[in-house]
Each structure stands twice: as structure tokens, then as C-alpha cells.
């Protein structure tokens, strides 16, 4: 099936060329980081994690969201997802690769990466994150590949693959849960120390992930003759509306608890993010409004019928969730710092350059996997 990535039209090759160029830019920036250290980033003693770790956190969610199709398809026999499930699985593969690249980019001493394996430390959540992420990567490569191959040969996939498919359901939940546990188990970080953080992460991921997938499928539809089927896209839109509503509800729960209890160590972070003159204030309001508008659009059934409205709703939800997790979650956690001082964090150009290169690499993987999936689907004649 791999040969499918070698055949494509001008648009395909042009897109790959753009991605490769961006990867080259990223490589140059990363080279600078390797030589000079993380000093090329905007991070500091007080805000010691930044854009990289935030992207990782967000993308874990996008990866986990494949489960929003696996559950209906395999537990409820919802046939409409049968056709597009492979895209969810391959998307998960690309997103986990992105996560791993972002973690490595964030390491101060990447040459010692293997120390995590040489000196396994189960009391560290990072150890478990490594296990669940790599496990999820393997499960999705495996399941995606086997089912696609069976599909191509027009036979039923082997019965034992079901085991891995069912396994992928709790496993998907685990990757985002463990990622939340990285943060919410830390004493003294009031913004993160909160038992509903994992549920919030999952809810916003189950909105942002399918939103991304819908946009991806519309792009596939526009650039190839493959039709994902309106029914499936509409249903995914419904999932997004509910998941994002739950996320907003959970945010409101937190807003109430934090404000009504009035405990400074929790309150300060919210005030920094939403009031005052911090750099993130406009972003956070934009994020919340976009999520809210996205829900308003997608919750109305007739809007989900219309391609344009569906795409709009997805864009709003996706960008809103990205700002919330990809910018606010990390910045808000570190500011104010342990001594109640405010140190602002703004990523530098080089830092964004590295991130851009990583994103390009992830999208390269996504493009090629999607190409394979579309190629097989069209070959069999869907």
C-alpha cells in the first residue's frame, strides 16, 4: 500500500514541497536551539514550559479523539463511521508523532532522552506518558494498517484485531488522562491542581479532535473523488457540539469554585488569564467566545446539514480549543509563579520556527497516511 504515496497530482506534490520547505526552516531553527540551548526560546526561570509543551498537550487530545468514532462504530455498530474510521486512526498516528516530536524539542538535553528508559521511574507521570503515548501510536498503526489491508483485499479483518480495537478505547482515554495528571498532581500550581482537569481535557479534546477531522475530510473531498458521506460528518458535528458544551460546563464549574471560594492561590491565575493586563487576556476571551459560538452553530441540526456552517462551527471550536490548551493552559499555570510574581511569556520567532517545522513534519505524515487511505478506498471503489 505504501506505493500510493508515490503517485499524486500536482497539488499533492506541491503541498509536500511546501511541507518539506517548512521542515527545513524548522530544522535550521532547531539547529540553533541545539547549539545555543533553550535560551533561544521565550521561556524563563519562572515560565519553564512554553509553546512546545502546550502543543504537545493540545495534540494529545486530537490524537485521542479517534475514539469518538471507534465507540459508535464498534460498540454501537454505527455503520456511517465505517468508511472514515481509518482517517481517524491515521490522524491519531500523525498526532502522536507530533506529540513525541514536541516533547523531544522541549528537552534541554535531548541526547540523554533514553535515560527515561534506562532509569525507568514509575513515580513520574512522564514515564507513564511515554508508555501510553507510544502504546497508542503502535495500536493505531497496527489497527489502521491491518483493517485497511483487509479492506483492500475485500475480506473481513481478522477476528483478533478486535482485541486491539477495543483496547484502543480505554487507551485513548488514558493518553489524555495521563497528560492531565502531569499537571494536576503538582502541589502549588493552583491553576492546574484540580480534579476535573482530566475530564476537561477529554471534553475539549473530543470536540477539537473531531473538528479537525471534519475539516480534514472536507479537504480530502475537495481534492480527491473520495466522498466521506454526509451522514458521518453530521454525526461527528453532533459529537463536537456535545463535547464542547460539556467542556464549557466544566470550565464554568471551575470558574464558580475558584471565584466563590476566593482562595488566592487558585484565583490569581484566573485573574491573570482573564483580567488585568497580561499578554494572554485577549487570547483567552477570544478562545472562550469562539468555543461558545462554535457550540451555538453546531448545536442547531440544520446548521450541521449545511457544509459551510459545519466547517465554520468546526473552525471556531478548533481554534478556540487550541488557544485554551495550546496557549493558556501552560502560561496560566506558571503565572503568577511560586512567589506570586508575574513573568510574562511570549514565544520567540525561533521557537515558533521550530514548532512550525514540527507541525510540517506531522502534517507530512498525516498527508501520506491519508493519501494511502484514500488511494485504497478509491481502488476498491467507494
Amino acid at each position: 500500500m505504501l506505493e500510493k504515496v508515490l503517485k499524486g497530482n500536482k497539488v499533492y506534490w506541491g503541498w509536500l514541497a511546501i511541507l518539506l520547505a517548512l521542515m527545513a526552516v524548522g530544522a535550521v531553527c532547531y539547529g540553533k536551539q541545539l547549539v545555543n540551548g533553550l535560551t533561544i526560546t521565550g521561556m524563563s526561570r519562572d515560565v519553564s514550559w512554553g509553546f512546545y509543551i502546550a502543543q504537545f498537550t493540545f495534540l494529545v487530545g486530537v490524537a485521542a479523539s479517534a475514539v469518538m468514532m471507534v465507540i459508535p462504530k464498534y460498540l454501537h455498530d454505527y455503520k456511517a463511521y465505517g468508511k472514515i474510521l481509518i482517517f481517524g486512526e491515521f490522524n491519531a498516528v500523525a498526532m502522536v508523532c507530533l506529540c513525541l516530536m514536541f516533547i523531544i524539542a522541549d528537552l534541554g538535553s535531548p541526547q540523554r532522552l533514553m535515560n527515561i528508559i534506562i532509569h525507568p521511574t514509575p513515580n513520574s507521570m512522564l514515564f507513564w506518558d511515554m508508555i501510553v503515548l507510544n502504546g497508542y501510536l503502535l495500536i493505531n498503526i497496527f489497527v489502521g494498517w491491518i483493517t485497511l489491508q483487509a479492506y483492500r483485499k475485500e475480506v473481513a479483518p481478522p477476528q483478533w484485531i478486535k482485541f486491539f480495537i477495543y483496547l484502543s478505547i480505554p487507551w485513548a482515554v488514558s493518553i489524555h488522562t495521563v497528560t492531565a495528571f502531569l499537571y494536576c498532581g503538582l502541589p502549588g500550581r493552583g491553576y492546574w491542581m484540580d480534579a476535573i482537569l482530566a475530564s476537561r481535557f477529554l471534553a475539549s479534546a473530543f470536540a477539537a479532535g473531531p473538528a479537525f477531522l471534519i475539516i480534514l475530510l472536507y479537504i480530502v473531498k475537495a481534492t480527491t473523488s473520495f466522498d466521506p458521506g454526509k451522514e458521518a460528518l453530521k454525526s461527528l458535528g453532533k459529537t463536537i457540539a456535545y463535547a464542547m458544551s460539556i467542556n464549557l460546563f466544566l470550565v464554568l464549574c471551575e470558574v464558580f469554585t475558584v471565584n466563590y471560594s476566593n482562595i488566592p492561590s487558585h484565583l490569581h491565575h484566573w485573574h491573570y488569564l482573564f483580567f488585568g493586563d497580561g499578554v494572554l487576556v485577549p487570547w483567552m476571551w477570544t478562545s472562550m467566545s469562539m468555543c461558545f459560538v462554535g457550540v451555538l452553530i453546531l448545536i442547531v441540526p440544520s446548521n450541521r446539514e449545511s457544509d459551510n456552517m459545519l466547517i465554520f462551527g468546526c473552525l471556531f471550536v478548533f481554534i478556540g480549543a487550541w488557544i485554551d490548551k495550546g496557549l493558556g493552559m501552560i502560561g496560566g499555570g506558571f503565572v503568577p509563579n511560586a512567589l506570586m510574581e508575574i513573568t510574562e511569556y511570549v514565544p520567540t520567532q525561533l521557537e515558533l520556527g521550530v514548532a512550525l517545522g514540527i507541525y510540517a513534519a506531522g502534517f507530512l505524515i498525516l498527508t501520506m497516511l491519508t493519501k494511502i487511505a484514500v488511494g485504497v478506498k478509491l481502488e476498491v471503489g467507494e
Binding site: 540551548g37 535515560n115 532509569h119 512522564l126 502531569l182 502541589p187 500550581r189 492561590s265 512567589l339
Partner: protein, 264 residues
Amino acid sequence: MKNTRRKFLKVAGLAVLGWSMRPASRLMAAHGAQSAEGLFMASKHGAPKHGEGLHAGRWIMLIDTNKLTPAIEQKCINACHTNHNVPDIETKQNIKWIWAEPLHNVFPEQMHENIPGGTERTTLVLCNHCTNPPCVRVCPTKATFQREDGIVMMDFHRCIGCRYCMAACPYGSRSFNFMDPRPHIKDAIPEFPTRTKGVVEKCEFCSERLAEGKLPYCVEVSEGAMMFGDLEDPESEVRKVLASRYSIRRKPELGTEPGVYYLI
């Protein structure tokens, strides 16, 4: 210091072989292979109990907030930073092992503005060498570890620079080498290792001095404003002071059990 590190590596190696499920609090006394780490608890490692040097069941530090003056504070900071090759970096990517902070920043939830002298008054802050150190709990490589005598140490050769420990420390005690520190050290002391870019560092309670039978640098130059001793020895000076004066610790509600006490 080199010696302790080597010993630690040996102990860690053996501990991996005989991984123990016992919680750290019930660990056996540290004698080579007998020291093991709990699977779900912070790992603990033996500190030299015999031979030369100072030994304790649990090292703690007392800081007398009334005796400290800005001048003494600066002396302490200089003594520590020059002798530990701490680079002098002016940006917010700076490195600090010990530094001065206003009281209301040090004790954000324990102070009110009407205390004698006001809360703008500064005091010294450094790593608290917590009994339950969150930094050790989260480190994915055991590059930061706790000795049996309570000192929380760093293995600069093992740290991968993930900075998880910095997120976990509720006191902001840790610094990261965002850049190569060496160009920023004026006169490097050959006796103490310089660090490389990409690793985390912090105060180590002058473990290298204790091994030589000396007290930490800051204590030595503090003109009596700081004390150092064994919490587990009822006859020790620090225990006597704790019994006679009112003392507080930073963020006690977090359960970290800091080993640095502030006399008020």
C-alpha cells in the same frame, strides 16, 4: 561530592535489580545494596554515615528573619554563588541557588502587612530540601534524588532537562541552564563542577562541604542569622532553638515538610 555521586549510581543500579514496593518511609538504613527505593514513593539514597565529615539523621536549616539584613543576605548569596560556580545571568533565564525576597512573596498566605517591620522586609530563600519533595516525585530519570539525611541532590549527568521538577517545585527553587553557563562565570572554582547547558540545578545544602566536615557557605558567613543541624538529634542546637522560638515554614499546607525553618 564525586564520591557520593558514584555511590549513588551504584546504589541506584542495585536498586533497579531488586525493585522494592516498600514506601520510602520504611526503607532500611543506607548501606550500599540494602538501600532500595520505593516503587511509588520518592526514591531515597544513602548518604555517608561514617567516616569523615558531618552526618545527620535529617539536616535542617534555620533562618532568623530578624537578624538578616540586606548586607548579610548579599554576603550569603555571594559566598554560595561564587563557590558553586553559579553563573551571573541578567535575563529572566537566570540561575539562583539562594536569593532574597520580600516576606510577602516568601509566605504569600501566612503574612499580613502589619507584622513588625512590614512585609517588604526581605529574607533568604533557597531549596527547602523537603521531606516529601515533589521535584523528586516527578523526575522521570531519578536525576534529582533524596538522600537519607534529607538532602535533595542533582545528578547533572543524568538530567535530561525536561524541567518537570521546576513545574513541580512549589517554591521556585530550581533553575535551568537555558544556555552554556561557563561564559557567565567570572572566576570558576576548580573544586566544584560547572554545569552544562540543558540541565537543572539548585542548592544542595553544601553536601560537598558537609563531607569535609564544614557547614554550608551561607551559614558560615551569615553572622549567626542562619543555623544548620540535625533535626533528629534532640540535643542539637537547632532543636533547642526550635523549642524556644516561634518558627514557620513555607507553604506548610502542601505537605512537603520543608527542611528550612524561618524564625519570626
